[in-house]
């Protein structure tokens, strides 16, 4: 990590404090990697409020992207295993990443200030019973296409979105491709060839971590 950036940590800590004073206890978690980046997690019902606070009070005028994460480990594994081999025990507990979380789906967005060039990653838990959050389009116009993509790929609804249509897929497409339980069929019908070709380097007996 570049040490010169460590001074800006106060800057990022101040960002979290200012957001907390703006939206109160709707900010439920934060995570700071010194001199690199900052993550905050807000309640889903305060999603738009947080966006407005970021834009108007924290000066985050540049909209970078909006997407989602499905934290459920894929039931298909990494599809690299030999399909004829005995099935191994797979850890299917849901573990969220930075800034914590409680639900399988999390919204993820990033906004940046065009004057200080410091950005903030913002997450929100979206309950599986009601996959709906308020749209960010009135806050950041550019969220329009990103929300369409997230809706199409993860099935998260955006209340108040002007035009929630398919972005890439045909209109009659069923399922949400970026969810972990959506199978990547190409991998299921034909095993990944790469895994079969691995053989140890000459002079190396172990199976991994050979190093140099």
């Amino acid at each position: 990590m570049p040490t010169s950036e460590l001074a800006s940590d106060h800057l990022r800590e101040a960002l979290v404090d200012r957001l907390r004073s703006a939206i109160g206890d709707a900010l439920v978690g934060s995570h700071l990697v010194a001199g690199v980046d900052v993550w905050v997690r807000v309640r889903a019902d305060a999603w738009r409020k947080a966006g407005l606070a970021l834009r108007d009070q924290l000066g985050m005028d540049y909209f970078c992207y909006l997407s989602a994460i499905d934290w459920m480990p894929s039931p298909f594994g990494r599809s690299e295993d030999d399909p004829t081999a005995e099935a191994t025990e797979r850890d299917d507990t849901i573990r969220q990443g930075y800034a914590g979380g409680e639900t399988r789906f999390q919204l993820l967005a990033r906004v940046v200030s065009s004057s200080t060039h410091v950005g903030i990653n913002i997450k929100a838990d979206v309950s599986e019973d009601d996959l709906t959050v308020e749209s960010w389009v009135p806050v950041y116009t550019g969220a329009n296409w990103h929300e369409r993509e997230t809706w199409e790929m993860f099935g998260i609804n955006f209340a108040g979105h002007p035009d929630l249509r398919h972005m890439y897929l045909p209109t009659e497409f069923e399922g949400f491709p970026l969810r972990k339980d959506f199978p990547l069929l190409a991998r299921l019908v034909k095993p990944w060839p790469g895994i079969a070709d691995v053989e140890p380097m000459p002079g190396v007996s172990g199976d991994d971590e050979g190093g140099e």
Binding site: S4, E80, T141, G142, W145, L178, G211, E212
Partner: protein, 390 residues
Amino acid sequence: MTMIDERRQLSYIAAQAADARVNVELETEGMTLNIGPQHPATHGTLRIIARLDGEQVVWAEPSAGYMHRGYEKLTEVRTFPQVTALVNRIDWLGSFANEVPFILAAEQLMGIEAPPRAQHIRTILFELSRIANVSLFLGDLGVQLGAITPVFMAFRDREYVLNLIEAATGGRFHPNFDRIGGLKDDLPKGWLEDTKASMHKLRTFCDEIEDLLFGNEIFQSRTRGVGIIPKEVALQYGLSGANLRASGVDWDLRRDRSLPMAWDKVDWKVWTHPDGDCFARCWIRLQEVREATKIVDQLCDTVPSGAVMAKVPRIIKVPEGEAWVSTENPLGEMGYYVVSKGDTGPFRVKIRSASFNNISITPWLLKGVLVPDIITILASLYFILGDIDR
């Protein structure tokens, strides 16, 4: 700025008057014009549906997805080193630049850094892909505005850069050369001298294009005052790269984000333009090619010696964590949000590509323009379809 405003106002009044005349005389009905998916101005397969009233666009909407390849899903079944072969194909004119932010994100999670020589060479190749990408834009721009000569010049001079990339990496379009911890190989002998000689040719190319195209009266009248994007709108839509700087925002990630690359070791300039019209966007790109040749020149003189690869385990497992790294790619801000769970491959990768945001402004921007200006505006926004659809 006042001149632009005046010009815009005049063209608006003229258009309104023409509309009124036509409407009275002919009782026109709306018409839907379908541009693409196969159209030279769409750099791939972008389809634009425009509803017209006379010659004016009332409503326009790009329809993407003809080239969606699902890279975000595919990364979840690849190992970290394999992902570069995929992301190479996002912006296929500046392939090497696509690999860099992903590798940097992985390195950040692993807590390693490439040796100085590798950082230097990475930066050189990054700028070479910028030159290869944007010089094609400069030529293509002419074709879309009706000038056929610049494209031949662009393809001729871009070849020098592609040859250099091929000599160093083995691939003209898809180098797949960047590795976690450094680079696949060192540079071939004599490559730095060749590169410096070619940079001279590229600068001559820029001068030629400037004379031929940017000084041309037809070119100016077709681009000046057309497709104006104010600064606030550009930021709201997340425009980046030359499109943002042409709207007067002084922001370049090469300068404003500290990354383990070599841009801070050389002297160069970030250009901005206050107008925000098509001309400004094209002009900024021309200057960026010039600056890139300068960067490459200086870097070639100061390549440090040493290894090009840090010590990394043979089977790469990236520790649990999340990282966001973005760089200033030829098309704008290209970033990867990488989530790792300590496995050999990423758990989730969000690919933030520049063209997706850049082109999402078109429904707003095309409203009210004339039909020929659609092509000018699309050309000046400059997108690569692979970069929209991913």
